[in-house]
Amino acid sequence: MRAIAVLGVLLIATSCAAEPAPRAPELPPLPAGARPFELFRRADLTLVDQADRALFLECLADNGYPQERALGNESVEAVTGLSRPPISPRTEAEARKYGFGTALPAEPATIDRKDPAFFAVADRCETTAREALGVPIEVAGLRDRYAQLGNALVQDRARKVEAILVAYGKKLVACLAGRGHRLQAGATFSARGDLKQFGITTGSHAPAKPTPVRRPAGLPADVPYKPAVPPREYRPSKAEAAFAVSFVRCGQQTGLFAAIDRDGLAIEQQIVERHVSEFSGLNPQIEALAAKSSEVLRGR
């Protein structure tokens, strides 16, 4: 009896010892030379979104609303903030042409539905579309969570770069003042503020020139239709462009740009390490969903 008990204890001890300890999440591997933010599978998220929309539009068409699909299903880049530098302008040419602004992307044509019957169908079609990609609630949740991870990277980087901007604030303000751009009376430099603190009125975007296109066939006359609008350039004001050139020169002269460039990779690495559990858990899922999405889009 005693021997059996000892054996039992030994067996339990052995089985416990053999059980592997839970592993801490690890960052997925990166190809040599890649930046840490390339861990974010932006192209995969874009592909998932395009397949989801293709299936959604197909379902709308099958349920009495073919006009949305007739407008096409162009790929819309996900989390575009990640494709932009954290701070701009960085060159005098950019400064003269764009100031501190960016172009507005093209706007697709839009059918402006207000009919509750349409939205009831749209609700059902969201689920139908996602059934073709997996379990609808999981597909929807993954897409949202991954987009939130991308936004978190943009925001985390912005806060770090702002901290550098603040650290160089005094030098920057002195340099700008030397070039004739003084802070407004009583103002202190704010890295989160706008150009008004230097008395600069910004420019505006070129006016929208909608593409002349016919309304989709069969669209009821009382449903508003907004044609596509091509990308619109940003036109800085004269004062903004001059200020932007000074900003570039001062960014170079004070060492601000060099500091941002020097710390860039380390900042990205710190940020991805902060999100290790998301990358570790979500990357394999978004890759699998992107593969499925690619199949869905093939032949469509």
Binding site: E77, A78, G81, K114, A147, L195
Partner: protein
């Protein structure tokens, strides 16, 4: 001051809901209902979709960040979460600063509230349909 604001908000909210049921009344640019429904870009005063609501139909001609949440709280710089139920387009939300790229892009047909959790202040200086 903030605490007083919160208490006032609470009172307004309770009263508002008591009389208005599930309606957003005049503050809304969407379907006029408190629920965030298909076709709307929805902002909420608190994280997770709580507190005041302000919704925009994607075709709305007025996407300005002026005006109030349905409970009377100022909308500008006071949103803590967003749910993009636009059927077609992502939404780009940006802060007011001109120096650093800190845009947020939310996909269309989203089913969850996303919090603006990375800021000391609340977000939504401006928003527009489309990618950032």
């Amino acid at each position: 001051m903030r605490a007083i604001t919160r208490i006032t908000v609470g009172l307004v909210l309770t009263t508002g809901l008591g009389f208005a049921g599930a309606s957003l009344a005049g503050a809304d640019r969407g379907d006029g209902l408190l629920a965030c429904n298909s076709g709307e870009i929805c902002f909420a005063q608190n994280s997770g979709g709580g507190g005041g609501q302000r919704h925009f139909f994607y075709g709305s001609s007025n996407h300005a960040n002026e005006g109030n949440f349905h409970n009377g709280v100022v909308f500008y710089h006071n949103a803590s979460s967003i749910k993009n139920r636009d059927t077609v387009s992502p939404v780009c939300v940006t802060e007011s600063g001109d120096w650093v790229n800190d845009s947020w892009q939310f996909p269309s047909r989203s089913t969850t509230w996303s919090n603006f959790a990375y800021d000391l202040n609340d977000e939504n200086a401006k928003h527009k349909r489309g990618r950032c």
